[in-house]
Symmetry: C2
Subunit: 414 residues, 2 copies
């Protein structure tokens, strides 16, 4: 297998140049979907696509596709991610995958290397879902999972209508959403978690993506004096919130595997040192790659809450905030990623994505998988988000290998 | 023993009249120490004392004493409490004990009943400690536990100097603090807890008062993505806060007796559903009537925190906010209270005060005890604070019995 690869300086220069658009203190980026900064980022991306001779198409939701023709009209191989960020974003989340896609094109052009299938570099609209919900919106609509009209009618946190903002920044395209159904989709992304770095690995071959269960619990107890109320007569909403947090931690430990559980937000009322809390609200985030286990975790939590209500004399209401089933990526693609890493002598492991990505939406309509590279200390959605240039380059080269192999696959597959 | 007693309508009329001063919506009272409302409350109290023929003396901290002469100059028997309230106070906390003291005087006068010892009805300055800290200030200074000058120099939450406010409302008296050292002090008060009501009892003979240990804990962990960070790699400050709350609850259950433990306030940062908390702050309120057990509880908590630091890879800092040793009330007085309740056919139990009261300060200089009456649902520091008129009357009659017996004790005691 080839060992040649993309030029690291070109990749880094492209990432640096793009990170200057919407740059914030500390080296981060604020380029929230459909703002002026997003427009500037899109304009730069489209310029680069045109410089590379790609045919640029924009769909009605503003998803951007840069298409390099193949020697046949067979279904294209697609890569890409998103260029929007959270308010205090880093420079790699999303952008890395798009920039690396452009460098794959440059590498092919420099060698006048044609492929049987077209290669498409995509940048999906509004992956982060900061201003407009839901997140992963562009790829979700592309995959037919959400109606275009509903997406365009979304009202933002600032009161703006998504369709209006899209027109304002000049990215309301005319291509019908979902027109391009790829032969395969491969997304290159930073891990946004600590596993690869901690295990000294270069490449993650992402084989699945966790299902997510988000709930907000509201606990109604009885406010009383912390000194004069005997333990047996308490209806302590604060204790109940704490008991839930400890329960889900123990549940995750007991399940093992990919199960994670987090209580990230707790609020007590009246939140005073000498008053038993009358009310508590807390969030519960449960994730597992196995839908049956995730359902079992939800059921165990529910049973625990019912028992807690009885035992403590409180009332607990659960409100579902989000629920996504786990996604299995394409086994053949995962093996291709592993094969590339092995050929390049890069330590690799199969892994699970704990975060949501455009690839999970694309997996609805074509074989899909992801390549992860290490994130220093797992930090993301933060200007401190960092991946070493050598790691970024290795990931881009794995993407190159995989795209090349896929792009030469004949129409009926091997 | 006598079964005759105070007239309920007189007691209730006095409480009603006084509760109109500083009245707030919902039937409560806002009469924060050394405000204009406090002055009006004091003026009404002094008028009533004078109408009852009491000698009114005001000390340099504004503590008010209404003195009914005895047939000898032996040390007086003192009762009373406070008439200041919290911002959203009820009408019984403190005021009830002072008003009942006046009704005892009226009862004696109506029968021209003289006592060997003088009887003093006291209203101590700033028991609540809302505007000026520390709380229970008037009785604390009276008992020699805090310097008068420091008390007068206290700066309030509104920036006012206590001594200036005292002069402004006309209650900077000239009697030296602590001049009156009683033969005994008996304070009648609502329970402010749910025990008497829950057990169907009329009278609590308060034999001790809990020691208090208040700490604020600050936990420093590591913020990370709730989906991508495996359980074993977490430094979750939110989980640690919850684990502390569950630990102290289990500690209190294990200790039993008077031990209570409360985590009333929790704050997480950044407090988001999908982010492991980087930091947590929480308060821990531990109380026990036994100083050795309270110390043991503190030591166990400390050991738990050290183990949690190791296990979770977090740093925990504990800041002491308050620490009071338990108070034992006078056994002979407690038995007198029980005897009165028995003679009147009132169901009674010995109990512990979980809250602080002026009597705990007076216990430093003379035999002291307290009489509790039921609080509906244990609610206090709230306009909803309520005790049935019949219960208020029964408590006042027990106070009458105990004061009468004490006031006729010869100088050397029985």
């Amino acid at each position: 297998m080839r060992r040649e690869g993309i030029a690291g300086r070109d990749l880094m220069a492209r990432i640096e140049t793009h990170a200057a658009i919407g740059a914030i203190e500390g080296g981060g980026v604020c380029r929230i979907a459909l703002t002026d900064a997003d427009r500037q980022g899109r304009d730069q991306l489209v310029r680069w696509m045109r410089e590379l001779g790609l045919e640029v198409r924009v769909d009605r939701l503003g998803n951007i596709f840069g298409i390099r023709a193949g020697t046949t009209d067979a279904a294209p191989v697609m890569t890409g991610s998103h260029i929007d960020t959270v308010a205090t974003g880093g420079r790699y989340d999303g952008n890395y995958g798009v920039m690396a896609g452009l460098e794959v094109i440059r590498w092919l052009d420099a060698r006048q290397r044609r492929t049987l299938r077209p290669i498409v570099v995509a940048a999906f609209t509004n992956e982060e879902g900061v201003r407009f919900m839901p997140d992963m919106m562009g790829s979700l609509v592309h995959a037919g999972g959400y109606p275009l009209d509903a997406a365009l009618d979304t009202t933002g946190t600032d009161g703006a209508r998504l369709g209006d903002e899209l027109a304002r920044i000049g990215y309301a395209g005319d291509m019908e959403c979902g027109s391009i159904v790829p032969h395969a989709f491969v997304e290159l992304h930073i891990e946004q978690g600590p596993v690869l770095e901690a295990e000294g690995l270069a490449i993650g071959a992402v084989q699945d993506l966790q299902g997510i269960s988000w709930q907000e619990l509201s606990i109604a107890g009885q406010s009383n004096h912390a000194g004069t109320t005997p333990m047996r007569m308490r209806h302590d909403a604060g204790y109940c919130a704490a008991a839930v947090a400890v329960f889900v931690r123990e549940l995750a430990k007991r399940y093992g595997g990919s199960q994670v559980a987090t209580v990230g937000a707790i609020g007590l009322h009246p939140n005073l040192i000498n008053v038993i809390a009358a009310r508590a609200t807390l969030t519960v985030d449960l994730r597992n790659t196995d839908e049956a286990l995730l359902k079992q975790a939800e059921a165990e939590l529910d049973a625990f809450l019912r028992a807690l209500e009885q035992q403590e004399g409180v009332a607990i209401e659960a409100r579902r905030l989000a629920r996504f089933e786990p996604v299995k990526f394409d086994e053949r693609l995962v093996r291709r990623i592993e094969a590339s890493a092995h050929a390049r002598g890069l330590p690799v492991r199969r892994m699970t994505s704990g975060a949501g990505h455009d690839a999970q939406m694309m997996a609805r309509i074509c074989p899909a998988a992801m390549v992860f590279v290490p994130s220093v200390r797992g930090i993301s959605h933060n200007p401190k988000e960092h991946t070493a240039p050598a790691d970024l380059l290795q990931g881009a080269n794995v993407l190159l290998d995989v795209l090349l192999a896929l792009a030469d696959e004949p129409p009926r597959g091997p």
